[in-house]
């Protein structure tokens, strides 16, 4: 991002004074952007404060964004009723494994589709596009039956293997690789490097931003996924966070304060991850499909 802003104002060679750096226009931009930020964050800010509220406070009128009184009871309840650290671990292993594996396999497939010439590449590409289009709700049952026949229900491999690669990621990585210049790999080919070597040492290093973007996409998707882990695991302790949190949604009553506390706790790692990769992130998709 720093690089980007330098590039944008490359003409201003001398060090600008405060006034010229932050003009009236920039002030307006900042104002608009900050109100936008508030609008976007409002439901999340609400969730955060709701996790510290008592039930009567949550439904009191007039509604207020800030708690009238603070309670930590919701958080105590979450830890009392769920083996939360274990669920963290399970979810982290699940989302992490699936993310890393997908990044590797998807980028390999995307590389082949974008940069290598072979018969059938169009057919495969179009098939992959169609795979993107079928809603998961309808493949859920046939997939479950398949896992059952393979004896993989209620096992970790059963949970993970179908997610080791993903049509969306192949599509995404292909679009990214198409945008890269050919000079580098051509040079490497002339030097007699193998395709694997070219992929590993020339192409993959250039794809870091795309890896980050896609990685975040996968990680949040699997971290938050409810239905697949729920169907494929049998006990609370073997399950993931969303499945555990769903136990707070009772048939008759739901303690929303506790639900929100659990949700805030499950949200933290993803936000943290985002903040870590955020710097490299905007460049992330920089060349996807644009060149």
């Amino acid at each position: 991002m720093v690089a980007a802003s330098i590039r944008l104002r490359s003409s201003s060679a001398k060090r600008p004074s405060w006034q010229s750096r932050f003009s009236l226009r920039q002030g307006i931009y900042a104002l608009v952007a900050l109100s936008l930020s508030f609008a976007f964050l409002l439901p999340i800010i609400w969730m955060f404060f709701a996790s510290f509220r008592t039930i009567p406070d949550l439904s009191a009128y007039p509604p207020k964004l800030f708690p009238r009184s603070w309670t930590f009871d919701n958080y105590t309840q979450v830890f009392k009723q769920l083996p939360f650290l274990r669920l963290y671990r399970n979810t982290f292993l699940y989302a992490g494994t699936v993310t890393l594996s997908s990044l590797l396999l998807d980028s390999m497939a995307g590389y082949a589709l974008a940069r290598l010439r072979f018969r059938g590449s169009s057919v495969i590409f179009f098939t992959i596009i169609i795979l993107l289009m079928l809603p998961f709700q309808v493949t859920l049952v046939p997939l479950y039956l398949l896992m059952h026949n393979l004896g993989l229900v209620n096992t970790v491999p059963g949970l993970i293997i179908p997610r080791l690669t993903n049509a969306f990621g192949i599509f995404f990585m292909r679009q990214f690789f198409l945008g890269l210049p050919h000079d580098l790999e051509d040079a490497a080919r002339i030097d007699g490097a193998s395709e694997w070597r070219i992929f590993r040492t020339v192409i993959a290093p250039l794809a870091r931003p795309a890896y980050l973007a896609l990685g975040l996409f996968y990680f949040q998707g699997n971290w938050n996924d409810l239905i697949w882990p729920l169907i494929m695991t049998n006990t609370v302790r073997d399950g993931t966070l969303p499945a555990g949190l769903s136990l707070f949604n009772g048939q008759h009553n739901i303690n929303y304060g506790v639900v929100m506390a659990g949700s805030v706790l499950s949200l933290l790692p993803v936000i943290l991850l985002f903040l870590i990769v955020q710097k490299s992130f905007v460049q992330g998709i920089a060349t996807t499909g644009t060149k």
Binding site: P83, L103, L140, N154, N253, T287
Partner: protein, 487 residues
């Protein structure tokens, strides 16, 4: 120039990182697969202790509920784990995986009764798996599609959904549970109404977990504030009281007389309103739609007018939202079951419970029951285990734990509220009238009639998208078509 920016600048410093990332990926995969294979065994071997652990820890947080029995939840859950590990290799107790959706105040009682059962004998071992109630039904269906072997040996469901399973032959016939008093002595003590609810077309398919009549919960403080001494006994009383209890401020209600949900999960609240008016959704034999019946129409006209025009109740609420209004004192009444007791107490509501107001045709409370059902794919041993547990669940000691813990009425004919000196609520939701009815029990198309026909028509009427007469006349035709298609 910026396009060359990306490849050149980042290229150098990032290249080692890339290699490392890939390496990490491969390592993680290997690790993942290794973790898989090792924990597959872990899953089967240790699931007994694992699944009971969360509920056991929850039980320690609810002091009053299980004081009598939860002497040592930790050891009791550890012991069966050890024996089950042995069971994996050969002889030992028959393991029965039990999926249940209890939550809140029911959980500690459930946990301790299961522990007691496992300690009481050595033939069977029940393994408790707590699942969210919405997803339990979905998981059940998916495992049934796969032949049932991944699924539970026993699960909880409600009487209005079990007919679907019965129609498809996916739950086992439990006639022997009720006909062999030698093996199942406590079956004979179960309330006749609860036994009836477990039967469809003359055969038993379920064992009651609980049984209650819906009542009218009311907030005594709000009633006092409005100058009302007793809960409404008739529709006319209700109308008078409701108009006093509905408070409109700045053009919108700041207090509702009643929180009547009108969604798929709350439509049973409307049934006593229709029944007391002499109507209903379907006839008692489940063959004829009554939605177009003049008595149904006039009952609906009375209640829709009250909700839509007089703002007695908010519209569009699901169960938990409706209950939240009552729990926080923003609705003065709520058609409720015993689950309200715990939350109302926590919300400091001065709770009163009365029968629903009687209508022109009398008083027909809605009866609810959660039941244990057994997949038809169970082995004879598993089925026997389920029936043994069902018997144990309904014995006096277990019923004491359950009702004392959460205020539900017992399932037994020989226990009275006097048996519960520490929980004054136990009697509150016992049978209000001998006329109480189940909603859609034994009707295979019941869920569809409710979700796809009744609720949408009700919502349309409440939103003012047509008259009650027109909407329900055409809804009745749609309902009849569904009933005829699924006899």
């Amino acid at each position: 120039m910026s396009s060359t920016d990306l490849p050149t600048t980042p290229g150098k410093p990032r290249s080692p990182l890339r290699g490392r990332a890939v390496a990490v990926g491969v390592v993680a995969m290997v690790f993942g697969v290794a973790a898989c294979s090792s924990s597959k065994h872990a899953t089967t071997a240790s699931s007994a202790s694992e699944s009971t652990a969360p509920s056991a820890s929850a039980s320690s947080s609810a002091p009053a509920a299980v004081a009598s029995s939860a002497s040592a939840p930790a050891p009791s859950s550890a012991a069966p784990a050890a024996s089950s590990a042995a069971a994996g290799t050969g002889s030992g107790p028959t393991k029965l995986i039990f999926w249940e959706f209890d939550n809140g105040p029911d959980t500690p009682s459930m946990t301790s009764i299961i522990n007691n059962f496992n300690k009481s004998q050595s033939k069977y071992q029940v393994v408790d798996v707590n699942i969210n109630y919405q997803t339990l039904a979905q998981k059940i269906l998916v495992t049934m599609a796969a032949g049932g072997s991944d699924g539970p040996g026993m699960f909880t469901t409600s009487t209005d959904t079990i007919s679907q399973y019965v129609a498809n032959g996916s739950v086992a016939n439990l006639d022997d549970f009720y006909s062999t008093p030698a093996s199942y002595p406590d079956a004979a003590a179960i309330l006749p109404a609860a036994v009836a609810a477990s039967h469809i077309k003359g055969h038993a398919y379920a064992i009651p977990e609980n049984f209650f009549d819906e009542g009218l919960c009311y907030n005594k403080d709000l009633f006092a504030k409005a100058g009302i001494a007793t809960p409404p006994a008739t529709w006319a009383d209700f109308a008078t009281d409701a108009n006093k209890l509905t408070i409109i401020k700045n053009g919108r209600p700041s207090q509702y007389a009643i929180a009547l949900g009108d969604q798929n999960d709350t439509s049973q609240f409307w049934q006593p309103l229709l029944w007391n008016g002499g109507g209903g959704v379907v006839s008692d034999d489940g063959k004829t739609s009554l939605l177009g019946d003049p008595k149904t129409i006039s009952a609906l006209q009375f209640w829709v007018n009250g909700v839509k025009n007089l703002h007695w109740s908010p519209i569009g609420d699901q169960g938990p939202a409706a209950q939240a209004l009552f729990d926080t004192g923003r609705a003065a009444m709520f058609p409720c079951g015993p689950w309200v007791v715990g939350t109302a107490q926590a919300g400091h509501i001065n709770l009163g419970v009365a029968p629903m107001p009687a209508g022109p045709a009398g008083n027909f409370p809605w009866a609810g029951s959660i039941v244990f059902a057994v997949p038809s794919t169970d082995t004879p041993e598993q089925k026997a285990a389920a029936e043994a547990f069902g018997d144990f669940w309904n014995n006096k000691a277990s019923q004491f734990i359950f009702s004392n813990g959460n205020g539900y009425p017992t399932t037994r004919t020989d226990m009275t509220p006097a048996d519960f000196p520490n929980n004054p609520w136990v009697g509150s939701f016992s049978v209000f009238a001998s006329t109480s009815k189940y909603y859609l029990a034994g009707v295979p198309a019941g869920t569809q009639v409710n979700n796809d026909v009744f609720v949408p028509a009700l919502d349309k009427a409440l939103a003012g998208q047509g008259t009650v007469q027109d909407l329900f006349t055409s809804a009745s035709k749609a309902a009849q078509t569904l009933l005829d298609k699924n006899p």
